[in-house]
Symmetry: D2
Subunit: 282 residues, 4 copies
Amino acid sequence: MEIQEFKNVVKNYDIVFFDAFGVLKNSSGMIPHIEKTFEYLIKHDIDFYILTNDASRGPKLLAKSYQDAGFSMINEEKIISSGMLAREYLRTKVKDGKVAYLGTKQSAHYLEETGLKALSIADLDLNHIDDVNALVFLDDEGFDWREDLNKVINLLRIRNIPVMVANTDKSYPVSERMVAIAVGSIADMVQKITGRKFIKFGKPDSSMFIFAYEHTRGGAEVGKEKILMVGDTLYTDIIGGNKFGIDTALVLTGNTLKEQYMDRIKAMGILPDYVCHSAVVY
Amino acid sequence: MEIQEFKNVVKNYDIVFFDAFGVLKNSSGMIPHIEKTFEYLIKHDIDFYILTNDASRGPKLLAKSYQDAGFSMINEEKIISSGMLAREYLRTKVKDGKVAYLGTKQSAHYLEETGLKALSIADLDLNHIDDVNALVFLDDEGFDWREDLNKVINLLRIRNIPVMVANTDKSYPVSERMVAIAVGSIADMVQKITGRKFIKFGKPDSSMFIFAYEHTRGGAEVGKEKILMVGDTLYTDIIGGNKFGIDTALVLTGNTLKEQYMDRIKAMGILPDYVCHSAVVY
Amino acid sequence: MEIQEFKNVVKNYDIVFFDAFGVLKNSSGMIPHIEKTFEYLIKHDIDFYILTNDASRGPKLLAKSYQDAGFSMINEEKIISSGMLAREYLRTKVKDGKVAYLGTKQSAHYLEETGLKALSIADLDLNHIDDVNALVFLDDEGFDWREDLNKVINLLRIRNIPVMVANTDKSYPVSERMVAIAVGSIADMVQKITGRKFIKFGKPDSSMFIFAYEHTRGGAEVGKEKILMVGDTLYTDIIGGNKFGIDTALVLTGNTLKEQYMDRIKAMGILPDYVCHSAVVY
Amino acid sequence: MEIQEFKNVVKNYDIVFFDAFGVLKNSSGMIPHIEKTFEYLIKHDIDFYILTNDASRGPKLLAKSYQDAGFSMINEEKIISSGMLAREYLRTKVKDGKVAYLGTKQSAHYLEETGLKALSIADLDLNHIDDVNALVFLDDEGFDWREDLNKVINLLRIRNIPVMVANTDKSYPVSERMVAIAVGSIADMVQKITGRKFIKFGKPDSSMFIFAYEHTRGGAEVGKEKILMVGDTLYTDIIGGNKFGIDTALVLTGNTLKEQYMDRIKAMGILPDYVCHSAVVY
């Protein structure tokens, strides 16, 4: 599988879905020269969206981090996050009461918009849980893991409520050499202990792509064949895009390195339509 | 969770998605009096579709089995099967060559419509596989398990091709007391041995529901809140419907029995919006 | 499977292996009247040992908790814990350097006896790990889960060292109604994130029974057919004893309740040789 | 980790445990010059045993294949196979009736020695199963996978009997380029469908090593520190030997290739005490 110029790939599409981490930014900040890509897209009237499994903050704050870095074209409307899917679920399926959550106060943003009362697991009192009608895993910060995960186990033994996982990632990079455990791993552990079936949102699950597709299509009535997914991870971005039926481009600025991409594609049997060094348009 | 009359539930919706096995039919044939349900739906202008993980035959043949039983209203357009999703994937992602498949000649119907050449794994010669560009698990019949599954393992060691699973069920009933291993279990075994990531279609995956939704919405511009999923299995029909954001009704004529439904709901933490004895409208 | 008097069962054996929690004690303390069992065993010259997956303290402290409750016959020699197996592994396989551990200072007792320097994960500095030659999961207390588990992940990315799990339990009871996450669940999560193969000790693994058997056999040259394993949990005590080739008795004072034991035996296909209400000899 | 001469390693031990496939033989026959190793061992009075997960034939027939190749020193007493562990289990745990098995008539050798009547799954009639008291997975040959695995599923729905797996391997090589599905993969699939807990024998499980240890120790009263396990597979031979507390040597003539051994050791975190090109003594 040959490596191609990203410009020669992207020019054939009407809409581009970008993964965030490993494609647009990394632990050092924005990928150098990635601003040229957005200039190119705007100039050529190619629409774009960022699909992220990051549910630690609402779309407004996620957009703000790009704008603070000088990317004014990335506003709230351009962000599609797995937290938004959890919010939709709560809107349609949980009529009243409280939603307990694991995460920071910032991540609770998603829940409050539903009209339900958001209750941090850190503030939950196991003696008063009769009105807790859902539980959401949003972020790995904002609670005491030992004390509060033990609360979660016991909450689920008593209350028969739906449980959502808004970020299914297993770990995430915090610097060039260090990683951290993501809330997806914690949710898997709790699921195994309790024997429950959690409802999981985020790439590679199709619901993420469906949500993005519906979000975009209002304006642009383009078909799936004119949408490109750009990602750095075979088992989330690429397999998810493939399954949804859109074209996929693997970039080598994140999870998948240049010296290993062919081995990984072969080992997993996940084939992107294109491979590019980066998502930068030169 | 109280058991309700199905009529009182279904009357509030514009579209109904039915699971097939355990809801409309069982190993003895059609569920007694289920024809009254279709009479009621037609009389009250409620549209309906059958969502099935059965990829053993094309929609025309699946519909024929209902028509032969006197249900003339269930035609090809009413059938949404996981095999149709595999077909869509092939259409968008596999440009040419052959598609090897596990299943009967009838199940290969899905593949032939794509313009690709369908090749039964039973007819595959491992010395001539250069033009085999995809593999699909369709059905547990039509091949010699030992000989042909060993072929599959070795095909995947040599060819780096996408693999689809068009029926993720683990087993299926063949009589009141007997079950059989479904192709989903076989695919899981092969996936584990080869270390590959297969692309899986069928409930509870959201792609099945979005496909049905897009299929129906052309005519009826109804919202998700006016669609009801009716199923007998918590971990496919109900969790899938819940996650897609439509209402769900569990019926007790199949996988989930009357004496155990509350225990199962509690053990898995999957909550239907309604529970009904059956999908029959009296 | 009929429930039998424990006395009628135990009288036929020369050695008895007891599980601790759910058999001899529960969250309220020692099982009422269990002292009569030990009086009976001593009077009839039946030897006994306690096989426990509790690696939170050394055998001396574990024995002390029984002696403090008035059971002077339960001394250090009677205790076989999974922590002792981890200690043996370190003795034979890790020649020098430091052993990092997750657990309290008390649990580190096992490690210090090996002559290696025990280093709590709480005290580990990721900038100085060149002499860390092993890692052991001992207990869920004694460290900050978030901060120190993230250390563990990064330690294992850099150092290629053996990892032991001295307690494979998933959760444990803390009161009649509440449970807590055990270190076995935490180890499973870390193993999944890192992709490593950990070395796991504790029932049902045969190494626990082998160790107990070798420990006892010095004096008593009895055969396996004269040893009885008494436990409250089918998937640790009973399947482990069965596999090791000794007889097994399930008691209904812990994990497996009277009203469910037949269903559980049937669902898992794990058959004890006997079922008794409790391990009390009346 | 440096590669050492096998002679310089083996000379320090009193007993050697060899894995068979990938160490002594491969798909082309015996490893060239391996006879020199046995000449060396005999000359230096180092005892040896072959530990194999092959339960397809009894020890006599397994030994015969070596003797036919000119290795007269490898007789029945030198063979320790996982099938022998299943036989021990049946002897102690199953008192009477029939043992159903998956495998060839040759593999049933293990069962017949127990005094129980062995019944091939191919000959099993589901209408007459009241006296079937155990089920054993021995080999992937000797039965029709589709028809007979469906029998197995239904047998286990009706009869609450112990199930043993005498070979836990996932696949095995049949030629230099081709592999075949092993009975361990089939057993995993059946276990998942039925929800039962099977009793599994074979490396890396400790019971295999303790059985070998007890088998050998009658004559030689050597300690564990004088026993070496030689294998080609990190996740069976090496981790199993490590856990049992004996020294381990990885050879590069089978599953683990020279160009990948360091990567694999690092990825899995399983460390042999030695690495050698082969088990040949030059």
